[in-house]
Amino acid sequence: MDTNDKVDRVAGLPESAIPMLPGMLPVTLPVTQGDHIIAGLAALAILIHVAETAIPSPLPGVKPGLANVITLLALLQYGWSVACWVALLRVVVGSIVLGTFLGPPFFLSMSGTLGSLLVLGLAWKWNECCTSLGAGVGCLRFGPLGFALMAAMAHMYGQFYAAYWFFIPHDGLFTLLPLLLTSSVVFGLLSGAIVLLVLRSLPQRTPQKADHESN
């Protein structure tokens, strides 16, 4: 994969097809290989996110969260910044597709995603510190299951506190928290297992420095 492959193209149209007034300058957006990867993963995540709304849920907020599998794969194969792009694109575009953009579900989703990305970033840094310490030092590295579980818990906490502070500032909401946490532990481990199974079928890849270079 050649990440230096920059392509100058204006949306695939020939220059003559674009109406120009005097004084206008054509804007070209160079598209990198990294952009393609992010777009592809984000499209997959959005697809799963939208399809998942067909699954009935016993409680609002209890979802399998299968789109997080894509975020975790992006993290483990391409690094944290690619995972951030994929996750945030999923939240924004998914909410546009579902018609909840800028509504309460969007803010809950966004707060949960920001929380889980923060925790994933910290855990990723922890793993990197372990690697830099070298072999032979007793350092506890996280694997996909650990990442998935922590991300799911952080997601649920982020969503819960956003709901508590901005939408339902009623103490009775806390009675719901143990149930939500139970579902996040169960589905977090499930997502982690799926990530592990998917990784076995994918070619080996560790994140490269060139992955999050853009333009």
């Binding site: 590295r141 299951l145 650990g146 818990m153 103490d171 143990p178 946490l181 076995r200």
Partner: protein, 124 residues
Amino acid sequence: MQTTWLRPGDYIAIVAALALLVASYAVYWSGLSQTALAEIRVEGKHWGHLDLFVNQTVTVHGKLGDSVIEVAGGRARFIHSPCTNKLCIRQGWVHHGGETAVCLPNTVTLQILSNDPRFDVINF
């Protein structure tokens, strides 16, 4: 790359998550009050506050007669009321912020004060 299912850090994460889960059940499902004050109103007007951590029995004079409210173990309830249906007594213990027990015929309300008493729900 990832052929092992559980790495060393994963064990810590799972143990911590399960501990947090059990703790959340213990704290939020225990039935203990998160706040320390209950408010009693008669005919809509403030009658008095009750400290939930002081076991006490209070007699409130309402429209029909005397309602008796008991505070014990961080919770409060109606134990006696002059109404016919006794729905206030059947409400049982109230402990979480925002929870209420009300005797409408006697116009006596018992509410646990929550951290932010201004709103129950906000909608946009």
